[in-house]
Symmetry: C2
C-alpha cells in the first residue's frame, strides 16, 4: 500500500488548494452529504478556489444512505459530468461520506485520485485512515468495499465547534483506544483533556495527530489485517455486540459509546487473563462512567451478547477472539476467552458501572 499523505491543519481551504495543485487534475468533484452541504461547503467554497470551481455531488446524510443507490448516483454524476481517469474527487463529511466516496473513487474507471476531508471527530480519527472503503449491502455493514487509501487526508478540528457533544465523545472513545494500545504517556494526555468542552481546538488537533499516527503506524505494518492490525479491535468485540444489542432493542447507541463500554469489559478480561493492573481498570471505568454513562444490561442479556460475539466476522471459530493488554501500551492479539470468562467479565463490568 502506498504511503498516504495526512495533513493536520486548521487551515483546511488552503490545504485543499495546495494538495489539488500538486495533483493538477483537469476536473475536480466534491462529494458532500446534506449536512456538510449546509454547514461546511459554503465556507470552503468561499475560501478554496478548487472547491469553488468543483462539480458538487450531494448525497443524503446518514448510515442508511451508505448504500448501492447512493454509490450508483455518485458514479453516474461523475460519468455524466465528464470525469476522466485524471479527475480528482474530494470527499467532505463524516464516515459515511468518506467511506462511500473513497469506494466510488477506488472503482470509477478502475480508480481515480481522491482526498478525504473528515468533518467529524470519529471520521477524522478512524474512517479516514486505513484504506477501508465501502458500503452497506443486503442488511450488512460494510459488506461491499475495497482496501484503498486516499491520495491525501486533510484533518482539522475546526469543524468540530458545531458538533454535538455525543459525536465528540463517540470519536474520543477511539482515541482512548489508541492511547491504550500505544503508551501510558499518550493515554494520560487523553484522560487529562476535557473533550466534553473541546474548546481548545489546537490542543485537540495535537492529540488527534498523535492518535491518528498510532493507527497509521499499525495499518502500515499490516495493511490487510492479517496480524497486528487486530490491535485496533480492542474494545470492539464486546462493543459491536453492545451496538447490535441496542439495535435489536430499537434504541441504537453511537458506535463510540459502544466501544467505550466495550473497552471496559475487555480490560476486565485483560485483568482476569493477563493481570492488567486493577487500578488502571478502575480509573478507565470511572472515566467512562462519568463521561459516557452506563450501558444498561442484566445477566438476562448475556446469552444474546455471547451469540452476537460469535457472529462477529472476526470470530469464525467456536472460541471468541479478543485483543487484550497486560498493561497500557502492551498488546496481545489473538487471545481467546470462554463464554464463562466473558460472563464473569460482564458481571464485573456491571459492578464497576454500578448497574
Amino acid at each position: 500500500m502506498k504511503h498516504q499523505e495526512i495533513i493536520f491543519t486548521n487551515s483546511v481551504a488552503q490545504a485543499i488548494d495546495a494538495v489539488a495543485q500538486s495533483i493538477n487534475a483537469p476536473k475536480t468533484f466534491v462529494l458532500v452529504d446534506a449536512n456538510t452541504a449546509q454547514l461546511v461547503l459554503p465556507l470552503l467554497q468561499r475560501e478554496s478556489q478548487v472547491v469553488a470551481q468543483a462539480v458538487v455531488i450531494e448525497m443524503q446524510a446518514g448510515d442508511i444512505n451508505k448504500n448501492l443507490d447512493s454509490l450508483a448516483m455518485i458514479w453516474t454524476r461523475l460519468c455524466d459530468n465528464g470525469a476522466t481517469r485524471k479527475s480528482l474527487l474530494i470527499n467532505i463529511g463524516g464516515g459515511v461520506v468518506t467511506d462511500i466516496g473513497a469506494f466510488a473513487g477506488a472503482t470509477f474507471k478502475r480508480g481515480i485520485r481522491f482526498l478525504n476531508v473528515p468533518t467529524t471527530l470519529l471520521s477524522a480519527v478512524d474512517a479516514a485512515v486505513g484504506g477501508k472503503t465501502g458500503i452497506n449491502f443486503n442488511g450488512f455493514k460494510n459488506e461491499i468495499g475495497a482496501f484503498r487509501e486516499a491520495d491525501a487526508v486533510i484533518i482539522s478540528t475546526s469543524f468540530f465547534g458545531t458538533l454535538p457533544s455525543m459525536e465528540l465523545l463517540s470519536g474520543y472513545a477511539e482515541m482512548i483506544k489508541h492511547g491504550l494500545i500505544s503508551s501510558e504517556e499518550c493515554y494520560n494526555r487523553l484522560l487529562d483533556y476535557d473533550i466534553s468542552n473541546a474548546d481548545d481546538a489546537d490542543r485537540l488537533l495535537v492529540l488527534l495527530e498523535e492518535s491518528v499516527n498510532v493507527k497509521r503506524r499499525i495499518v502500515e505494518e499490516d495493511p490487510t489485517e492479517k496480524g497486528i492490525r487486530r490491535a485496533l479491535n480492542l474494545g470492539h468485540t464486546v462493543g459491536h455486540a453492545f451496538e447490535s444489542l441496542a439495535m435489536h432493542r430499537n434504541s441504537p447507541i453511537p458506535h463510540g459509546y459502544a466501544v467505550a463500554w466495550g473497552l471496559v469489559v475487555e480490560l476486565v478480561l485483560s485483568h482476569l487473563k493477563l493481570k492488567f493492573p486493577s487500578v488502571e481498570l478502575q480509573r478507565l471505568a470511572s472515566y467512562i462512567k462519568d463521561n459516557y454513562g452506563v450501558m444498561a444490561i442484566t445477566c438476562d442479556d448475556y446469552p444474546q451478547l455471547l451469540e452476537l460475539m460469535h457472529h462477529d466476522k472476526k470470530n469464525e471459530s467456536t472460541e471468541i477472539n479478543f485483543t487484550l493488554l497486560d498493561k497500557v501500551g502492551s498488546v496481545h492479539i489473538d487471545c481467546t476467552a470462554t463464554e464463562s470468562e466473558i460472563s464473569t467479565a460482564l458481571d464485573i463490568f456491571r459492578d464497576l458501572m454500578g448497574i
Copy 2:
C-alpha cells in the same frame, strides 16, 4: 501487485482441485453464465470434487449483462449463501464472467480469493490476465472496476473445440498483437499455425502460453498502465474506432476482428512514421484479409472514425496517441499522429484490403 499464478493445462478439473486445496477455503462458489452452465459446468462437476460441492451462481450471458444488476445479484448470492472473507470464488466463462466475477471477488467484504477459468480464447489470452476487473455502466464499457489479479488463472484449450471459428479468430488477433510486440520468432510461429481449424489443442496451448507470458511480463512491469503497458494498445486505437463505428451502424463486429483490422492500419502508420518494413506490413495485411475478411469503410467514414479516436479514453489531448513499431518486436509508446496522417493510413489500409 502480487504475482498471479497462471496454470497452463488441459486437465482443468485436476488443476482446480489442486489450487482449491492449497487455498483451503471453508466454502467455495462457482460463477458461470448460461452458456458455461450448459457446456462446461456439468463436465467439471463430474470431474472436480471442488466444483461438485460448490454453490453455483449463474448469470445471464453476453456483454449486455456485464452490468450493475448482475453484480448486485452475485454479491447477494454470495451474502445469502454465507460467504465469508475466507471463501473462494471460481469464475468459469468468457471475458464477461471473468471481468464481473473478479470485480465481485475484489469487492465482496473488501476482497475474497478468486480463480479465473477462461473458457474462450479471447478471455484466455486477454481478459484473465492483467488484473482489469469491472462492469459496464451508464452506457460506457468497463466504466466501473478495479485493478485486482486473481489468486490463480487456469488456462486450457480443451474447451475451445465447441467454439465458433469467429470466436477463435477474435482471440487469435490478440495473440498476433502479442507476437508483433514481442519478437519475430513468436510472431512467425503464430502466422504458421492454422487457427481456423485449431485441431491441435496441445500446440495451441503452447502458443497460448507464450502469448499470455508476453502480456504478463508487460503487466508486471507496469501494473497500473502508466508506461510500457500501453504497448498492449497496439491495434486498439483504430480497432476501438472500428468497433464503435460498426456499433453505430447496428452491425457490431467481434472485438478481435476490429483489433485485427486496427493492427493493419497501425502498422501502416508505423511504416509511414517509423519505417516499419513494407514487406512485413504486406504479409500481415494478406494474413488478416485471408482470415478475417475486410472492414468495409469509405473515405466518408473518416471524420467519424477520427472523432471516435479522439474520444477514446487513452486520448485526452488534441493529438491522437498510438503505440507503433519500427520493426516486429520493437515498440514505441506515446507516438502521436495528425488527422491527415491517419487519413493517409486509412487510404493505404483500403488499398491493402482491396476495398
